[in-house]
């Protein structure tokens, strides 16, 4: 700056601008002197007056920060967070319930149509295919039975040590 006026200087006399500048400098000097705690200079009453103002501004007649403010703030934020999480949980449950109801309703209404459609999609096997499929299933059954039998025998041996 250093002029304290934020408007364009058009129309302002140079003497006025200098006067404003001097006043601004006195205000700033007073603030600095008050911060540093230097003794008052009786020869400069303008700065002296601004120092009284700066002193009053540095020791305001304000309510001090309450001693329990931090705890109150932290409790409130935690409560809001918990509430938010609870609401989120309930919304999720409601959403799942709605989806289940819609799914059950859809199956009840359109289910019979779907079953016949799926049956129609199922391939009709020939006699040769049925034979090979039977052989495959037989082999698979035999293999599983062999494994199951072996496991049963091992279990029996562990239960009755010699």
């Amino acid at each position: 700056m250093n002029t304290p006026d934020n408007r364009p200087p058009s129309g302002k006399q140079p003497a006025d601008a200098q006067r404003l500048e001097r006043e601004w400098q006195a205000q700033e000097r007073a603030m600095e002197q008050e911060r540093r705690g230097v003794p008052l200079d009786p020869a400069d009453p303008r700065v002296g007056e601004y120092r009284l103002i700066a002193r009053a501004l540095r020791a305001p007649a304000m309510e001090p920060v309450p001693f329990d403010l931090t705890d109150q703030i932290v409790r409130r934020v935690e409560a809001a967070q918990t509430l938010g999480e609870r609401v989120e949980g309930w919304l999720l449950r409601i959403l799942i319930a709605v989806l289940v109801v819609v799914a059950v309703g859809a199956v009840a209404i359109y289910g019979s149509g779907w079953v016949s459609a799926f049956v129609a999609l199922w391939p009709q096997p020939s006699a040769q295919t049925t034979g090979w499929a039977g052989l495959l299933l037989g082999c698979l059954g035999l293999s599983l039975a062999w494994q199951w039998g072996g496991r049963l025998l091992r279990h029996h041996d562990q239960g009755h040590p010699a």
Partner: protein, 189 residues
């Protein structure tokens, strides 16, 4: 953003135990000053301070570190207090503050009994009354500048006002206080 601020923000966002409490302890004084200077009522100040920190907690992930954490939190506190005053239709700045301050300077003289003024508790009390009588914005700017020692560039970030506007408010408010101080001195003499 300082490394300390960065660490604090990361800890709060990472839900590190005690991190948010540290943040509150660090910046509650600034928030309290801003909000109390704006709204004045202690109960409203307490409520709005809590609201401000609730917003800080909710929006901290949006903080990008472009300004100091102090300015960012101050900005939240200022906007909470400003919205409160706007809801109650309370003007935050004096509408008659458009002059350049020259008219105020015309009303002050340099003949002043400084020694007696310094010793006079009545004068100090009167000055506090005059400060309280200023519009909310001017009170807040003076407090941030003088009490919290926040530089003008940071005050501009907090309030969203141009630096020139802030200087202009500071200048006129202090000139007005000087004029009132002299008036009170004259009345006492």
């Amino acid at each position: 953003m300082t490394p300390d601020d960065r660490k604090l923000v990361e800890d709060v966002l990472g839900n590190v135990p005690g991190a948010f409490e540290r943040l509150v302890r660090e910046y509650q004084g600034l928030c309290w000053h801003i909000i109390q200077r704006m709204v004045r009522q202690p109960e409203d100040t307490r409520e709005l301070c809590q609201e401000a920190f609730l917003r800080v907690h909710q929006c901290l992930h949006q903080y990008r570190g472009e300004s100091a954490l102090k300015s960012w939190i101050g900005q939240v506190a200022y906007s909470v207090a400003k919205r409160h005053l706007e809801k109650r239709r309370i003007a935050i700045a004096d509408s008659g503050d458009e002059d350049d301050g020259l008219s105020l300077l015309d009303q002050v003289s340099d003949g002043f009994d400084l020694e007696s003024a310094c010793a006079d508790a009545e004068i100090a009390a009167g000055l506090h009354e005059e400060i309280e009588a200023l519009p909310p914005l001017q009170r807040t700017l003076l407090t941030l500048y003088h009490l919290d020692e926040v530089p003008i560039v940071e005050i501009a970030r907090i309030t969203g006002l141009a630096e020139g506007t802030i200087k202009s408010h500071l200048f006129r408010s202090r000139a007005r206080l000087r004029e009132r101080l002299q008036a009170r001195m004259g009345a006492i003499a």
